[in-house]
Symmetry: none
Amino acid sequence: MQIMLYDTTLRDGTQREGMSLSCEDKLKIARILDDLGIHYIEGGWPGSNPKDAEFFRRVKSLGLTHARVAAFGATRHAGNRCEDDANVQALVAAETPVVTLVGKSSILHVEQVLETTREENLAMIADTVAYFKQRDKEVVYDAEHFFDGYKLDPDYTLATLAAAARAGANCLVLCDTNGGALPHEVAAITREVRTSFRAQGLPEPDLGIHTHNDGALAVANALAAVQEGVRQVQGTINGYGERCGNMDLIPVIANLQLKLGYACVSRAQLQKLSDVAHSVAAIANLNPDPHAAYVGRSAFAHKGGIHVAAIEKVESSYQHIDPTLVGNTKRVVVSELAGRGNIRVRAEELGLTLQGVEGNVVQRIKELEHRGFQFEAAEGSFEMLIRRSAVDYAPPFDLLDFTVIVEKRGNHQITSQATVKVRIGDQVMHTAAEGDGPVNALDGAIRKALLPHYPELAEVRLVDYKVRIIDEHRGTAATPRVLIESARGDERWSTIGASHNIIEASYQALWDSLELPLLRSRERQNRKSS
Amino acid sequence: MQIMLYDTTLRDGTQREGMSLSCEDKLKIARILDDLGIHYIEGGWPGSNPKDAEFFRRVKSLGLTHARVAAFGATRHAGNRCEDDANVQALVAAETPVVTLVGKSSILHVEQVLETTREENLAMIADTVAYFKQRDKEVVYDAEHFFDGYKLDPDYTLATLAAAARAGANCLVLCDTNGGALPHEVAAITREVRTSFRAQGLPEPDLGIHTHNDGALAVANALAAVQEGVRQVQGTINGYGERCGNMDLIPVIANLQLKLGYACVSRAQLQKLSDVAHSVAAIANLNPDPHAAYVGRSAFAHKGGIHVAAIEKVESSYQHIDPTLVGNTKRVVVSELAGRGNIRVRAEELGLTLQGVEGNVVQRIKELEHRGFQFEAAEGSFEMLIRRSAVDYAPPFDLLDFTVIVEKRGNHQITSQATVKVRIGDQVMHTAAEGDGPVNALDGAIRKALLPHYPELAEVRLVDYKVRIIDEHRGTAATPRVLIESARGDERWSTIGASHNIIEASYQALWDSLELPLLRSRERQNRKSS
C-alpha cells in the first residue's frame, strides 16, 4: 500500500521559534525533499507572507522530478467572493499544481474566533474548494482542529468534511492542530469519518493526517491514522514547527516502511534519511538532535560495556533495525574516528591516490577533529588534506602573515581592514584591503595578492559562509567552526576552519577555498597539454 | 486508578552519550523526584559501578518522604549461587527497600548472548527473586527484551515472567529494551500476558512498562500498556537515556493525569513539572529542550499574528491544555509580525510600562529586525529596548570607541587584543585586554573599564555565545547575528546583535548583556532604600 508523503517544513516548519529560512534556503530544501521521494512540498502561504511569492516563482525552474508543489492558504473570508478575496487571489498567483486550503472544522473556531455562522463557514469551504477545482488544481483540504472539533460537535465537524468532498477536494486532511489528541482517539475518530461517509452515501474519501507533538504523540497519532486507512501523512523534516513541533516525517517514513510494510519511498531513498535530516538542519542552521530516532548520531551508539560485548556477538541484540537501512551507522562510543579503510575509500571517490600515507592522513584528521574540524561537512578541505599529504606536493601559494583591524570611533561607521603577506613562487606580495567586516576584508586582501598571478580566481565565488559555535557554554571563548562554500560555474566545494579565534577559523577555510580551484585548474591544464 | 511512577534517570538516564552525574548531582535529583511525588527512584547499578555504593549510603540520610529507593542489578550468573555472586552481593550491600532485577526474557539473548540453557536462565530468575524475597525486599523484575522475545518465542518469554511471579516478584516489568516496538504490538502482547497468567491459574500479576524512544514512540507505547492494565511506568526525566533516550516521564505523567484520568501525583506536584524538567537539565549540565511537550519554553509560545489574535479571543483556541496546570506559561513571541498589542503584553509580563511610546518601540523593532535582529530569541535586548525608550532613561555607561586587532605572523600563535573607551558619569576609561579571540578580548577590555565602578559585574557570567549567519549566499559579506546568554545566580538573560561585521554584532550583544544587570541591581537597590 502506497503512502503519500506531504512535507510542510517550508511552511508550518518555519513557525518554529527561532527558525527562519531565506528563499535560497527553501529552494535548497525543496531539491533535497524531491530527491528523498517526497510526493508533495508545501512551499509557503503566499497570502500571509509576501516573501513566499519569490519561492513559488523560482521553484518552477528548479526542475523537480517527482514532488508536486503546493501553496497553502485559508478558505475565502466570510462575506467575500473568491474573485475578490486577496488571500485566495494570492494562491492563484502562486501558480502551483496543488492548492492546500485550511478551513475551520471546529464549531468553537467558527463561532468564537471567526465569528461567523455555521452555514457561512460551510459555504466558504465549498466555494473555495470549487473555485480551485474549476481552475484544474489538485485541492487538499486541511480540516483545522478536526479532532477537537469532533469532540465538541461531531455532526458539524463531519459536515465540514462533506462540504469539501462534495465540492471536489482530492484529499481531506484530519488536523490535530493543537497537538493534544491521543492515539486511541485518533483511531476511533478516523473510523467514524469513514462510517459517516458511507452513511451519507458519499464515495470513500482519500484521507490525510496532520499532527503536532504537544503530547509527545505526533508520530504515534500519524501511525494510528494510517492503520485506520489514511493515505497521506503531513509532517516536517526533524519535526520542526510551532510550540513542540509538527510530526517528524523521518521516523514516520521509517516506521511505516520498515515495520508496517507500507511503501513510502524507494530502498535507496530510505538510505538518504540520515543525510536529509542533517542537511536540512544545516540549512536551517540548527544543531541536529543527536538522539533523534533512526537518524541521530547517537541513535545506534553503544556506550556500556555489556551492550558493546553483546552487539559484537549478535549485531541485532541491542538494535531495533539495521542502521544502514536509513543511512546511519552503528557506533561504539570510545573512538569515533574513521579508520584507514574509510579514508582510502573516500580518497578513491575523489579520484586521488594516497601513495601509502594513509597512516599520516588518519593521524592528521584525528588531530584536527579533536580541535573542532568536521570533515564530513567539508569535502573540499578533506581533498586538500589528501593533496597536501603527497610527498611531491607543490603549493601554488603560501599565506605568511595577516593583520586584521576593526575600529569604531563614536558614531562613525565601523571600519575593517586587513593586510596579508603571501608568497607565490619566489615573490612575496604584501597587500591590504577594506571590507564589509573583518573576514570580507581578509578575503579581499588575499585575492588582491593572488589575482595578478592567477587570473582564473576571478571566476571563483564564495557562495556560502556559516559559523557554528562548538562548546557554547564556554562563552566568548568558545570554539567557532567556519564553513565556506565556493563555486566556479557548476563546480562546488566546501572548506572548513576551526579555532578559538573566529578570524583564524575563517582564514583557514578561505585558504583551502582558494587553493583547491588552482590545483584543479592546473591538473586540467596538464591533462590538455599531455 | 493510581499509577506508580518509577524513575531511572539516575541509572538508565546516565547511559545517555555525554551525560554523567556526580554523587552530589544524584542526591539533588533524588530530592527533586521525591518532591514531585515519584514512587520509586532507581539510584544505580551497584554491581557495575562502584561509585553507586556511595549514593546508596548517603541517600539513606536524605530524608525522602515519599519515594522508595531501588537498586538495580542482574539475576545471578549461570552456574553461580546467589550467596557467591558478586553482583547479587553488591545489591545486598546497597541496603535498599526495593531491588530491581533484570533478567533475560528473550531466547535469542539466553542462547546467543548469555550462552546458557533455557532451563538455567529460568532458574537464575527464580533463584535471584526468591533470594531477595527471603530478605524482605520489594522485588521488581525487569523482563529485558520482552516484546522482541515474545515475537521470537512467546511461550519461553511468558515462562520467564511466570518464573519470576512464582518466586514472589512484586511487579513484572515488560521492557522494550531496543525501543523498536509499536503501540499496537505493545497493547496486544500486554493483553496476551494477562491471558496467559489466567490460563496457568496464576494470580493476576502487577505489571510495569519500560520503553525506549528508538521509533519516536516511547510515550505512546507506555500509554498503550497502561490502557491495557499496566500499573507501573518506568522512565526518566526529559527522556534521558542511551541512543534515542528512555521514555520521558514528564509527558507521560501529564497525559495520564490530565487526559486519561489516572492518578499519578497531586495537583500541586503536577504544577512542578516544568521546574523539575529544567532543574534536572541544569544539574545534568544539558540545555533544556525548548520544544519539549508540556514543559518546553516554546510549548505554549505563539508566533503568527492569526494565532495570537485567536488566543486573545479564546484562550484555549490554540492550546491543548491550560499551561499553568504543569507550571508553564503562555507566551507571545516578539517578532517582526507583532503589532502594538503584542509589545504591550510582553512589556507588562516584564513588569515595565511603556509610557505611551508603543509606536516608537514597534518602529524601532521593525527597523532592527529588518537589519537582522530577531527579538524572539533575545528577551534581554527587548527589555533594554523598552527601558531605553523611557524619556528619563539614564544609562549607567556609554561605550564610545573600540579597536580590535588580530595578528598572525608566520608560524607564531595568533594574537587578539582590544582597546575600548567607556564613559561612566563624567569619567572616560580607556582600557585594553588580550583574549582568546577578538570577541573575548573585547569582553575583557569592557569589563576592565566597568569593574572599578560596578563591582557587582564580577558575578555576571557569559554562559553561551552563538553565531548565526543570515543571507548566507552573500559569502563573507553575509550578516552575522550574535546571541549571548548571561547569568547571575539563577537569573538569565539573552541579548542580540546583528551587523555585517561580526565584531560589531558581538559588541552590541555584549553591551546589552552588561547594561541590563546594572539596571536591575539599581532598581532592587531603590526598592530597598524606599
